[in-house]
């Protein structure tokens, strides 16, 4: 029986905040393949193309036929739980603080024997389990053995919670709550159990439909936040950065221009000022406090979400300057991910295709609704993944990109 997570008690301000520690994060290059798939929420192992043998731990040549043709392939993770233990002692400082800690030894149906974290819902040995992968606090893929059937309070397993960014009992900031996407995210976070959602807004005289209703929700607190104004970001950070557990950056300027379709740089500048420099300002002011609170109890700081765009990965010429600004934001977010790592904060990038809003008005369907985007963000937080491609257009884009970026570039310019 997994005890449901209790509402965390108010923090005692006289006590020192527990500093973030990270589980061992060193990996060989081959092993990083596990992490790369885990970033997308997939459990993959290397499979030999010549003889079919599945490899674990990861390596560079097949342990059966010595072939170098190993490819990462998705796994079911089904297997037999051979043995379990509970660590009461660990040499590693991260685990030492968190014992007792359950581990399991699983013989996968696919062949290898694996050491995995053990979800407390798993039945005692001998039993069948399903091994999955999650990103741990170091941002590295680790194996977790799950029970075959859903058990009550699955998400509240303490080991699983160390690897996810569950909004429950946490406080979130949505940087622009006025847009359709922003409003949907505010509601979705509340629906996922967030205690408090700060809703950022700029240009208060610009009224957006639906915003007034948002203000009426009991979990909502409006905060002025203009990502083009360093002082605004600084002031709002001074007020709330020390309490934000999940930051969702929805602020963006989106114009439907390439290079020739709009003379002057003013429109492109406006996109960069919010999409790229806005992220930079936000990161400078909010990241330090969040990083320091990465291990601050059950409602610690846990995630930073950037709503980017598939156009960040490959330029869509009709929205060419927007694409470039999102590409700049993507690169910067990778820097942010590296800088947030010591705090164990997950940086999650969302790459939606066209959203069903005014700026994609002329694009044909399928388009992603704001509600669907918000749902994918919540799912990403609950699973603790790093890269999210919500919707059909985004999934297809990713598949085309992985197959051949140059081909995709040509397809987009036709």
């Amino acid at each position: 029986m997994i005890r449901p997570l209790a509402r965390p008690r108010r923090k005692n301000p006289a006590l020192r905040t527990r500093q973030p520690l990270l589980p061992p994060g060193a990996r060989s290059r081959a092993a990083l393949g596990l992490t790369a798939a885990a970033a997308l929420g997939r459990f993959e192992l290397q499979v030999c193309e010549e003889c079919g043998a599945v490899q674990y731990p990861p390596r560079e040549i097949c342990h059966c036929c010595l072939s170098g043709a190993l490819r990462w392939r998705e796994q079911s993770g089904l297997g037999e739980l051979l043995s379990t233990t509970v660590l009461h002692h660990s040499h590693d400082p991260f685990f030492r603080e968190r014992v007792p800690w359950r581990l399991g030894l699983v013989r996968l149906d696919a062949g290898p024997t694996v050491v995995a974290h053990l979800h407390s819902g798993c039945r005692p040995v001998p039993s069948r389990v399903r091994v999955g992968v999650r990103l741990d606090k170091s941002g590295q893929g680790v194996l977790l053995a799950f029970p075959l059937d859903e058990v009550p309070n699955m998400a509240d397993d303490p080991e699983l919670r160390e690897m996810t960014c569950d909004p429950r009992f946490r406080k979130a900031l949505v940087t622009d709550g006025k847009t359709g996407v922003g409003q949907a995210l505010v509601r979705a976070l509340i629906g996922a159990g967030a205690d408090l959602v700060w809703v950022g807004y700029a240009e208060p005289w610009k009224r957006q439909p639906g915003f007034a209703e948002l203000e009426a929700l009991p979990q909502v607190a409006l905060v002025p936040l203009d990502l083009t104004d360093s002082r605004s970001v600084k002031e709002t950070a001074a007020e709330i950065a020390g309490r934000v557990d999940i930051l969702v950056n929805t602020a963006e300027v989106h114009r439907a221009h390439g290079i020739a379709s709009r003379s002057g740089v003013e429109s492109a500048r406006a996109e960069m000022d919010v999409n790229y420099f806005g992220l930079l300002r936000l990161a400078q002011e909010f990241a330090p406090a969040m990083r320091a609170r990465g291990a601050d109890g059950a409602s610690s700081a846990t995630a930073w979400v950037n709503v980017l765009s598939i156009y960040a990965l490959a330029n869509y010429p009709p929205h060419g300057t927007f694409s470039a600004s999102k590409a700049a934001a993507l690169s910067l977010s990778q820097c942010l991910r590296a800088e947030m790592r010591p705090g164990g904060i997950r940086v999650i990038n969302v790459f939606p295709g066209p959203i069903d809003d005014e700026w994609s008005q002329t694009l044909p369907p399928p388009k992603l609704s704001a509600a669907a985007l918000a749902k994918s963000v919540i799912r990403a937080l609950e699973d603790g993944v790093e890269d999210v491609y919500p919707g059909e257009v985004a999934e297809e884009w990713l598949a085309r990109l992985r197959e051949s970026p140059k081909t995709l570039e040509r397809e987009l310019s036709l």
Partner: protein, 266 residues
């Protein structure tokens, strides 16, 4: 004699017999900025980025870089700003004759009307009523429409938007034509975010103050404040824009000189 007038002025400034009134809103990122429909180019709001503050970026000094549009905050509009004035000579901020930038101010008090109706339009009737109390508007004077709009310190109230757009007071088309054709004023100034009313798009012609004033080579002043400290006549205003090459306008430090006897009371 000009010289003795100036010497007297200097002495009176020093003694306080002549006071300087600041008609300028503070330039800060919070100050509302004019907003066009999203598909148009936008005028930058005021933004400021610290360069250093006695720190590793510059140990003994503090300074900033700022950015804004030509039409940010309390600012000056030159004739070149509007299509109707684009081909006139001496129509940019670097070419407007500086002689025009200091002049007598006539302050038309519309504060009561504006309080009752945010879309209040100043008409010829209002002007004629004002003149019957204070005398004719002299040629080459600045006409300033006092609405006390600057007392709306909440940016939302200052912008005063609803679903149909902005609602701020301004001059009617006939009043503008009267001021130019019948009174030969040098420029028109308001406390709100445009010289034209918030719903000026719907007048005929659209934005008549811009259209006629700039079309006649005259100027505009916006986002003025403290007009309630000026007498209806007798103040002298200074409103020089930055000397931007080919500039359509610029933020200014708008100042008014008011003599002690002529200063507003009550």
């Amino acid at each position: 004699m000009a010289r003795s007038s100036l010497a007297t002025l200097a002495a009176e400034l020093a003694s306080g017999a002549v006071r300087v009134i600041d008609l300028t809103q503070t330039l800060s990122p919070e100050f509302p900025q004019i907003m066009l429909p999203p598909e148009f180019g936008q005028c930058w709001p005021f933004r400021i980025e610290e360069v250093s503050r006695y720190d590793e970026r510059g140990p003994a000094w503090y300074w900033n870089n700022f950015s804004c549009g030509e039409h940010t905050g309390t600012h000056f509009d030159a004739p070149i700003h509007w299509a109707s004035g684009r081909d006139l000579p001496l129509n940019a901020t670097d070419t407007v004759p500086v002689q025009h930038l200091i002049g007598a101010a006539c302050v038309i008090d519309c504060s009561r009307e504006a309080a009752l109706d945010a879309d209040f339009l100043l008409t010829v009737e209002h002007l004629e009523r004002w003149e019957s109390a204070h005398g004719p508007i002299p040629p080459r004077a600045w006409v300033l429409m006092r609405t006390d709009w600057s007392k709306r310190t909440d940016p939302v109230a200052y912008q005063n938007y609803d679903e149909t757009g902005q609602h701020t007071p301004g001059p009617a088309a006939d009043a503008v034509r009267f001021l130019i054709e019948e009174r030969d004023v040098i420029g028109f100034g308001t406390e709100s975010i445009g010289t034209d009313s918030g719903q000026g798009y719907h007048l005929t012609p659209p934005y008549p103050c811009h259209y006629y004033m700039h079309g006649a080579g005259r100027y505009g002043l916006q986002c003025l404040t403290n007009l309630d400290l000026l007498p209806p006549t007798g103040a002298v205003i200074f409103c020089a824009p930055l000397k931007i090459k080919g500039g359509s306008g610029s933020p200014i430090r708008a100042l008014a000189l008011v003599s002690h006897e002529g200063s507003k009371h009550g």
